[in-house]
């Protein structure tokens, strides 16, 4: 059964029935799905959730979908204690929520797209689309292919090849727009208006964003039905951070976890940090920026949900920081070297910012910390290709191998010492 009451404007409280609308007719504010929590109490339990499928649909009671149509294998990604990384950072209770292996296109976007496309089918749309910095396009194209829907993906013209091919392979119509993500997003608003398609992150946005809650639900369940004290989350358009916070609050509301005052932290790239700047200023007005960072997937200079990120961070008692491009690359390499996880620059940003917050003492080293990894490094080879040395080729002779090993032995020793020194050097704070 569904516990959805309808849509309610986050700003003025105006209510409308469930329909493919996203902007409040009364005040232009965003609509959000409203649930009947009173009816859920006692019915939605740890046991009822645990009895569900091992996918994001185990949280169906918290999602605005009558019948799932896609995403049957998405979500329920690994949640791991990062022992070796924790040792490097001096943290005793450090965890990774790893959506770099989310099925089928390796990012957190499977969560929002599974909900949005199920809803699009429910509403009777035959064409779906999105405005994307890459990951969303990959996911929308794949799920549309699975569901047999026509698909249009709109992206900035200068994305990484992995993200471009990673969409094209599924056969959507891809439109590359000369401009930034913000230009793409603005165009998609007009396209949704004019063509009546289901643009998942535009006119299906109230449903789409709800899917992001499942990232937070999984953290809570996989952590043993409790909440981490500190959760560090990347911020681009501003979808996932407020929804993780909402997920925690919903579990608290239903008595599924204890309220330990979980704090949420926003991570942005220094080359695109409108929300973090506003957090530092202490004013909830997000000044738009022109992005300039290798973290393209989070290069959104005009995040409309930035306002809600600001408030979730403040309300929870968290904070925000940004990381420079070199810090982002260093963090990507550190995570790979210590935990065997290859994340994209968005994940590097999140880890680099977590390290800063730990160094600043804002996050105590002995408390539970979750670093949110939301994307996969295999899609963004460009980000690290200049930082990794291509190995030399040798003939298939044992003598050449012996020589190489001897050469590298002395070299590796000095490199290892240098790397060791570098990893202990404190990260500078912007």
């Amino acid at each position: 059964m569904s516990y959805v009451i309808g849509l309610k404007c986050k700003e003025c409280g105006h209510r409308v029935p469930v329909s493919p609308v996203h902007v409040c007719q009364a005040c232009f504010g965003p609509y959000e799905v409203e649930y009947d929590y009173a009816a859920m109490k006692g019915k939605v339990t740890r046991e009822s959730i645990a009895a569900g499928p091992k996918s994001l649909w185990r949280y169906k009671d918290f999602l605005p979908v009558a019948e799932p149509k896609t995403g049957f294998f998405s979500g329920f990604t690994p949640f791991r204690k990062a022992v070796r990384l924790g040792k490097e950072l001096g943290c005793s209770d450090l965890w990774i929520k790893d959506d770099s292996c989310n099925y089928p296109t390796y990012s957190y976007k499977e969560r929002v797209v599974s909900v949005a496309i199920s809803k699009a089918i429910e509403f009777g749309f035959d064409t779906v689309g999105c405005a994307s910095t890459g990951n969303l396009a990959n996911s929308t194209a794949a799920h549309a292919a699975m569901a047999g829907l026509r698909c249009y993906v709109m992206i900035p013209h200068d994305l990484e090849q992995g993200k471009v091919l990673g969409s094209l392979i599924f056969g959507p119509t891809m439109v590359r727009i000369r401009g930034t993500y913000d230009d793409v997003n603005r165009l998609c608003t007009e396209i949704a208006d004019k063509y009546g398609w289901a643009i998942v992150n535009v006119n299906l946005r109230p449903y789409y964003t709800e899917g992001a809650k499942t990232y937070g639900f999984e953290i809570a369940e996989q952590f043993g039905w409790r909440l981490p004290q500190h959760t560090v989350v990347p911020t681009a358009g501003g979808t996932i951070l407020p929804k993780i916070y909402k997920a925690y609050r919903e579990f608290i509301e239903l008595g599924l976890v204890e309220d330990n005052g979980p704090k949420i932290y926003s991570a942005q790239a220094a080359g695109c940090n409108p929300v973090v700047k506003a957090i530092h200023k202490g004013i909830d007005i997000i000044e738009p920026q022109k992005p300039n960072t290798i973290a393209k997937s989070i290069a959104i200079g005009n995040p409309a949900d930035g306002y809600y990120v600001w408030h979730a961070v403040k309300d929870s008692g968290g904070w925000g920081e940004s990381a420079t491009d070199p810090e982002i690359v260093a963090a990507i390499k550190l995570l790979a070297r210590t935990e065997g996880i290859w994340t994209e620059p968005a994940g590097g940003t999140t880890l680099a910012v977590a390290m800063k917050l730990i160094q600043q003492g804002r996050i105590p080293k002995n408390e539970s910390i979750v670093v949110s990894i939301t994307g996969n490094g295999l899609k963004t080879l460009e980000a690290v290709q200049n930082d990794l040395v291509q190995p030399e080729a040798i003939e298939a002779k044992i003598s050449e191998f012996d020589e190489l090993l001897a050469r590298q032995g002395s070299q590796n020793l000095s490199e290892a010492k240098a790397a060791d020194r570098a990893s202990r050097k404190p990260v500078s704070v912007i």
Partner: protein
């Protein structure tokens, strides 16, 4: 001198369904304030107070967000086009 203002669908009930309205003015603020003569009631959707836009209203002069220009003080000239766009975000999202 009048310039074209593009109206998004949620606001077209104020313009009898028109998606473009021509309004006279020398700055973005003047043009948006002048809209109410042709679309009575729209001003309450656009403005929070005198010369202060609602948080969820983004305004573009040609292709540029007016917050990168001089906001409501930005001068306009013949041939310019203003677009009113609901502020919604996406992409990563995070």
């Amino acid at each position: 001198m009048s310039i074209k203002v593009r109206i998004p669908s949620p606001l077209r009930n104020y313009t009898q369904g028109a998606d473009v309205v021509e309004v006279a003015g020398t700055t973005v603020g003047e043009v948006l304030n002048g809209l109410k003569d042709k679309a009575s009631g729209i001003e309450t959707r656009l403005f929070k107070g005198p010369n202060q836009l609602n948080r969820f209203v983004n305004v573009y002069l040609n292709d540029e967000d007016i917050r990168f220009l001089k906001n409501l003080e930005t001068p306009v000239k013949a041939g310019d086009e203003l677009s009113i766009i609901p502020a919604i975000a996406g992409g990563k999202d995070f």
